[in-house]
Subunit: 429 residues, 2 copies
């Protein structure tokens, strides 16, 4: 009577999703609108940086060989023949015992081979001539930034697939990318199922609760950098659900449902998958929470069936939906980053499946720690709000103690990882 589902490893489920990965379209946006997007082509230097030999300081450009006999006791006098602001160039050729006043960033004049900082000279006027007194020897190249020393024309500075941060935006501006090629944002359809669901504006009714998963998913989609389209909360009713899903598949790039994936009589998702002709990739994963996460493919389009349980829904998105979306947007680091850290609490209860505990990271004296936040029942939505990591307790027959090392999956990280978290040993489940 009850469908028996075969669980698969988290790693296998991620692989099955990513077998269907694809890069979304590329679009060209203004540099003003490129923040946090993923570069769809590498960032190449269109000129040397610096583009010319320049002064990193305010000071005077001169010839090092003229300072050979300068000392505190025997200062030498140079005549200031011109001054160059940033963005200006001098047409004068600098000769023996001559100097040019030069501002930070300005091009070194012809003939000069070093710069002395403004603070280190005395200036004076004599018979209408502007003079400076130099009290030390300089070497050719002193206080110069040489053409191309930061980056040479044609160099790939940032590879494609990297997310645009403030430093990369600065580079884009520097190298003339007034328009930037980035991965287009996919639209993610979000369907919260369950006739018990009310909206946030609704008064509570007996037996009902307000939908939280739909809103949480909106937020997760936005953080991932994609767009979402919400569909009305759908009753647990075969026809309504089927039509909502069909519409969402037509209107969106990727579709997520929450709820309706477990084995109860009122869960119509399996039947709907069948009607849509969808190919089921998996419907049970060896993990808690999130064991009833499912994914199906229909004509190359993915349909994620996340649990109606808030924590399971959250975790299902982070593990399976997020990397798929990030890859679509051209990210080279689509997975959540994970690290190793020390447990700050005991977890005595053994678990057959890998367990992901909502936790809080801390850093002490160069080391990483994690402790659980709040109750860790899967129905407890409050602890998701406080968590910034998932503590991984691998399935097995033993519990865990304070001080044990554990994998920790970062939830508030922006950077991502090129490889997903996975179980260390895969055997037959």
């Amino acid at each position: 009577m009850l469908e028996r589902r075969k669980p698969i490893w988290v790693k296998e489920a991620i692989d099955k999703v990513m077998e269907h990965k694809k890069r979304g379209e590329v679009e060209t946006v203004s540099i003003h609108d490129c923040d946090e997007r993923y570069l769809a082509s590498p960032l190449i230097a269109d000129h040397d940086v610096p583009p010319f030999d320049r002064s990193p300081y305010d000071g005077f450009a001169l010839r090092a060989r003229d300072t050979k006999n300068a000392s505190r006791e025997h200062p030498l006098l140079f005549e200031v023949i011109d001054e160059i602001g940033a963005g200006q160039v001098t047409l004068k050729q600098l000769g023996s015992m001559e100097a040019v006043r030069i501002m930070t960033g300005a091009q070194i004049p012809e003939g000069a081979d070093c710069v002395i900082m403004l603070e280190l000279v005395n200036e004076r006027n004599e018979n209408g001539r502007k003079l400076i007194e130099i009290k030390r020897q300089l070497q050719p190249g002193d206080n110069l930034s040489f053409q191309g020393e930061d980056a040479q024309k044609g160099t790939e500075l940032i590879g494609k697939g990297v997310q645009i941060n403030p430093g990369i935006k600065a580079l884009l501006a520097t190298f003339g990318y007034s328009r930037v090629k980035v991965g287009k944002k996919p639209t993610i359809g979000i369907i919260a199922t369950g006739s018990e669901l009310l909206g946030p504006e609704d008064e509570l009714e007996p037996g009902k609760i307000r939908d939280s998963n739909g809103y949480m998913l909106q937020s997760q989609v936005l953080r991932t950098g994609a767009l979402y389209k919400r569909y009305e909360n759908c009753a647990d009713d075969l026809e309504t659900l089927y039509h909502a899903l069909k519409t969402a598949l037509e209107e969106c790039d990727i579709v997520i449902t929450t709820g309706g994936v477990s084995v109860g009589d009122f869960d119509y998702m399996p039947e709907i998958y069948k009607r849509l002709g969808a190919k089921l990739l998996f419907n049970k994963i060896a993990m808690r929470p999130g064991s009833v996460t499912s994914c199906a493919e229909i004509n190359g389009q993915l349909l994620f069936g996340l649990s109606g349980n808030p924590s399971a829904c959250y975790v299902g998105f982070e593990f399976f939906v997020k990397p798929y979306i990030r890859y679509w947007m051209h990210s080279e680091l689509p997975y959540n980053r994970f690290v190793t850290g020390e447990l700050k609490a005991d977890f005595p209860k053994p678990n057959p499946f890998s367990r992901f505990i909502r936790g809080k990271l801390s850093y002490e004296e160069g080391k990483i720690f994690a402790e659980p936040v709040g109750l860790d029942k899967s129905g407890v939505v409050t602890s998701i709000a406080w968590a910034d990591c998932l503590i991984v307790l691998p399935g097995g027959t033993r519990g865990y103690q304070k001080g044990d090392q554990a994998d920790i999956i970062l939830l508030e990280d922006r950077q991502g990882s090129g490889v997903p978290w996975q179980e260390k040993k895969l055997s037959k489940l």
Copy 2:
């Protein structure tokens, strides 16, 4: 002839900025638009969670005492008198040897005190009666989620000043916050000064470079969650700059300039501060890069004068502007988070001032490491793009070796800190 500036500690400079901190206006936004904003009032539970005793599983609700004699050898038969989907309630009173089919999340019927999971019973039909076979004893409360066990009505679940993440958005939805009170986004005026500056769409000209700081600051402002307004790149010309600044002060909440703050003849900012009647808070800080960062106050409004040097500009924003903006937006954790980690490279050169090296974090076996990225000359814009942290080398007479511990300021962190990084020992500079 040259103005002599007195450097102050980073800590002092932050304090001087934050003496002028203020909370911006509060606005009410739709729950759909609240992501990443800061709560301006605490999130209070408007009802118990769960709002009623409910079933965390698909199964059957019954009376524990009726199972007293159940065993594998002597299964007991219960009659299924009703079924309740999520969001439904039964009007039937459950009696002796009766069960009600109940879906995940549904309210426990009157009379029942426990739930048995669907997978653990055999169902059968007999003469039109629906029966289940129970093979184990249950205790009152087994597999029940009790009313209020996650959160009780009236509890403050999230304090004000916390940034809205997906978990908090879920809580807002759960507790009926269809509209959310958040700190209003301030508008930050950005003025890049320097007659050498070209736009990203311009062809390079002799002696000139394209503006990168203005774009970098746009991106930093957006990441901080605020809005920006760009002003035309201003020539290093007193009148133009003065008028741009006056307009920006009228149109924006906070104003940032980049460039024009050092001591060269062409730097008009000091003169402009004077004309505006601005009170200078500081104009030199004991740090590299960023020593010529300045801040002035005029009628309660702050005017940040960041260096024209890209790295100094970047660091100046992170240390001084970001916390001021975040506080304005009602954040309780306005500063950049910092941790301790191990250096992965030598830094032999001693430095009189604290030095902030652009670096890359790594995590190995529970420990935090950091190493410098690229050349660390302050003019090198490429290394900002790759950095995810600043490695702090405190000023002093010695260099640093691989393996030394150092403070590390996180640049890609979303969470922030309630206290700023500061020098460990403050003496007279």
